[in-house]
């Protein structure tokens, strides 16, 4: 017992903090799993489990770009979209060939992540030379381009192989036995529902493992040095483009993974403003900002709260979107307004002690 305590004490501060983050996820998973298996949980909450995992992964991965790399990206949903569509395409083609669901999902996951990473590199090479507002604008445009591109893609398969068109289904010129896999704005329907809560939690843990290890590694320190002072970082020989690209690509790949989960959680996959457009990119950014830029644990908590909130407020009918917006503003003020911080320090012992700790 004492040995164990000693070991805990001797642990590095960051390692301990990381362990706590893993612990939160695992404990939350176990509690939910027990509640689900004993039937003590509403269908709504049960249905929300996989989406929660998706949003947590998205928030954590965006935090890598916004918080650690210090760049503003507004196209995160674009990478999610790429991952979702490439994996759904694979799964739909392989639905009858590979019948073992976990294996099929694993392969789809690899494909989704790989494609998103490739897009991350392609976008990153030119875009990461830009700074601040320009990067935000280009990534915003990228997200919209991806969404519109997906909406004009028609892909079908018949006995002669794949057919591709950007016009409509008729111009695919398929044999009568052909099936349309990607139907333009109607997207992909009939993706097998392979995503489960367990898979989602495992993906969260993998995401946390990658992100937290990257942050605490030599590469991570280089990335943060670029964030803090680009010129100083360059002057000591850090390859700025390489490290920026590394953080951006890892973030894109993880968002692709979240997209794979998304695609395999619903049987319809369409690209519209709400799920893969700027609305989604901004929502993810809100998770990151509200949870605290650079704080991984904060992102997780903010993603959970802000995903649950609109669903929990359903009882208020049409007022819920209004209330949701007001709650956002209040939370933001509470977290960041100088007066609110002062008040917290004065009356809440938690904030006060924290300030002492900072000193």
């Amino acid at each position: 017992m004492t040995g164990k305590m000693k070991k805990l004490k001797n642990m590095k501060k960051t390692t301990k903090s990381n362990m706590i983050t893993y612990g939160i996820v695992i404990v939350a998973f176990l509690v939910m799993q027990i509640l689900i298996s004993t039937g003590n949980i509403s269908s709504l909450l049960q249905g929300l489990m996989v989406p929660l995992c998706i949003y947590i992964i998205l928030a954590v991965s965006l935090n890598l770009v916004v918080g650690i790399l210090g760049e503003l990206s507004l196209g995160h949903a674009g990478f999610m979209c790429v991952g979702a569509f490439s994996s759904a395409f694979f799964s739909k083609c392989m639905k009858d060939v590979i019948t073992v669901a976990p294996l099929r999902f694993f392969l789809a996951l690899l494909i989704g992540i790989a494609v998103a990473a490739v897009f991350g590199i392609i976008i990153g090479i030119p875009v990461l030379r830009l700074k601040g507002d320009y990067l935000a604008i280009v990534t915003l445009a990228f997200g919209e381009i991806i969404k519109n591109l997906v909406n004009v893609m028609f892909i079908g398969v018949d006995s002669n192989g794949f057919h591709f068109s950007t016009k409509d289904v008729m111009s695919l010129n398929m044999e009568p036995d052909g099936t349309v896999i990607m139907n333009g704005p109607q997207g992909i329907t009939g993706t097998p529902r392979d995503a489960t809560f367990l898979i989602g939690v495992v993906l969260i843990l993998i995401t946390l493992f990658i992100v937290m290890n990257l942050i605490n590694s030599r590469d991570g320190r280089a990335i943060m040095a670029i964030r803090d002072n680009r010129i100083a970082a360059e002057s000591i020989g850090i390859n700025v483009t390489k490290y920026k690209l590394m953080a951006f690509t890892v973030s894109a790949a993880l968002a692709g993974g979240a997209g794979v989960l998304y695609a395999h959680n619903l049987s319809t996959l369409t690209a519209n403003t709400n799920n893969f457009g700027y609305n989604m990119s901004i929502s993810i950014l809100v998770f990151v900002v509200l949870g605290g830029i650079g704080s991984i644990r904060g992102s997780i908590i903010a993603a959970v709260i802000l995903t649950l909130l609109p669903e929990m407020l359903r009882g208020l009918n049409d007022y819920r979107m209004l209330i949701y917006a007001i709650v956002l503003i209040i939370m933001m003020l509470f977290n960041w307004a100088p007066k609110a911080i002062e008040w917290r320090e004065k009356y809440l012992s938690f904030g006060k002690r924290k300030k002492e700790a900072v000193k």
Binding site: K13, K16, S17, I20, G23, I24, V27, A28, V31, M32, L35, G39, N40, I41, S42, S43, L44, L45, Q46, G47, L48, P51, N148, N151, V152, D168, V169, M170, N183, G184, P185, Q186, G187, T189, G190, R193, N265, L266, S267, T268, T270, N272, N274, N275, R297, I301, V304, L308, E311, M312, R314, N317, D318, M321, F350, R353, K354, A357
Partner: protein
């Protein structure tokens, strides 16, 4: 210092877990409550967009169902049992739609009227199929929306609208050179267009121009109209909603292009649009199952009641939703179901009964359903004449 940070994280983690657990147990209670109180009323849920871009359709369906529920309850209910009705918003988004469905399930829903729009419906039908819950959509048109045997629909499907339109144009010799302007970002519009094009091919109609727009570029149609004009289209087929159609008509008028216009049920409502010059729509033909100006008694009563209740002229979606409830009533009476039966038993009984009933509704006479969930009813073609809908 470390201790503080640790204490804070533990506190946050436990707060998170407790709040989740609290939600969970609340939901659990809700479930058991509805199970016990649900035995003397039928619990019918509805899903559709009451906020967001498609709010007009969701609200119409919500009101249409409400009107029918009130009438049925006043007249003694279904098999002597009253109906409890609850409608949830899905913002026309698949993910939110499934959340709305789960919320209604927690409330104790036994039958679902919804969802209003096609894409969310495909996601929800997957859920109702697993739960074996009876689902009846008033207005989801895509084929996959009712792909399982527990799902039925009230409206025409995309293929039937596209095919019937092409047949009508060919059989009545309206034109041989056709131009199409459609919304490529809408499943409704592309679905109809694809089937129209396929049938036009069979019937020997020539589609000389097929131009698309998206929801991001739906205000200027001069390019599409110019192409249709240059290609010599005698008739322009508009498988779109009336908001865009009104702009197209106005812009065509300005460029002096006057082909025949043919629309689908989304065209319904064009005359009620604020600031629209009704003379532009003179001679526009469209397929519709319902017109608020029809002079039969049922429609007149429905329109009057709807206007009194909600202060708005009902659109076709409201009529479809209203009919849905009466169809459910007819099928439930045929099947003799009672609210104390399980969701799955109700669904099995309703599945059989749906194929055996014949209903006269606002959106069609002598409507019957096949096992595939498709209604068989005659579409009416109406033409706009002197600022009013006239049945052809």
């Amino acid at each position: 210092m470390k201790m503080m940070k640790k204490a804070a994280s533990v506190a946050l983690a436990s707060a998170l877990v407790v709040s989740l657990a609290a939600c969970g147990s609340n939901g659990g209670d809700g479930n058991s409550n509805s199970g016990s109180t649900g035995s003397d009323t039928f619990m019918i849920g509805g899903i559709g967009p009451t906020t967001g871009d498609n709010a007009i359709y969701g609200t119409a369906v919500k009101n249409g169902i409400q009107l029918a529920v009130d009438e049925i309850n006043e007249a003694g209910g279904i098999n002597g049992y009253q109906i409890s009705y609850k409608f949830e918003d899905d913002q026309s988004d698949s993910e939110k739609s499934v959340n709305a469905y789960n919320t209604l399930k927690d409330w104790g829903m036994q039958m679902l009227v919804g969802t209003v729009t096609s894409t969310p419906c495909v996601a929800v039908v997957e859920e109702t199929h697993v739960d074996n819950m009876f689902q009846f959509t008033p207005s989801a048109t895509s084929v996959e929306s009712v792909q399982y045997d527990n799902a039925f629909r009230m409206c025409f499907s995309d293929p039937s609208q596209g095919t019937v339109s092409a047949d009508y144009i060919a059989d009545n010799g309206l034109a041989t050179k056709i131009g199409v302007i459609y919304d490529s970002s809408s499943t409704y519009s592309t679905g109809i267009y694809q089937n129209f094009a396929a049938e036009a091919d069979v019937k020997g109609l020539e589609i000389v121009s097929a131009e698309a727009f998206t929801s991001d570029s739906n205000s200027d149609f001069n390019v599409q109209l110019q192409k249709a004009k240059d290609a010599g289209a005698e008739l322009v087929f508009l498988p779109i909603y009336y908001q865009e159609a009104s702009l197209i008509l106005a812009q065509a008028d300005r460029m002096g292009y006057a082909p025949k216009w043919f629309g689908v049920d989304g065209m319904d409502g064009i005359l009620n649009l604020d600031g629209f010059d009704a003379s532009l729509a003179e001679g526009v033909m469209f397929l519709t199952p319902f017109t608020p100006t029809a002079d039969d008694e049922a429609t007149q009563t429905f329109v009057a009641n709807y206007e009194a209740e909600f202060g708005d002229t009902p659109i076709q979606f409201a009529a479809d939703a209203y009919d849905c409830l009466y169809v459910i009533k007819a099928a439930a009476e045929k099947a003799g179901i009672t609210p104390d039966m399980s969701v799955s038993d109700i669904c099995d009984a309703m599945k059989t009964a749906m194929t055996e009933i014949t209903v006269d509704g606002l959106t069609g006479k002598q409507i019957t359903w096949g096992e595939d969930g498709e209604p068989s009813k005659e579409p009416t073609v109406v033409v706009i004449h002197d600022g009013a809908y006239t049945v052809m």
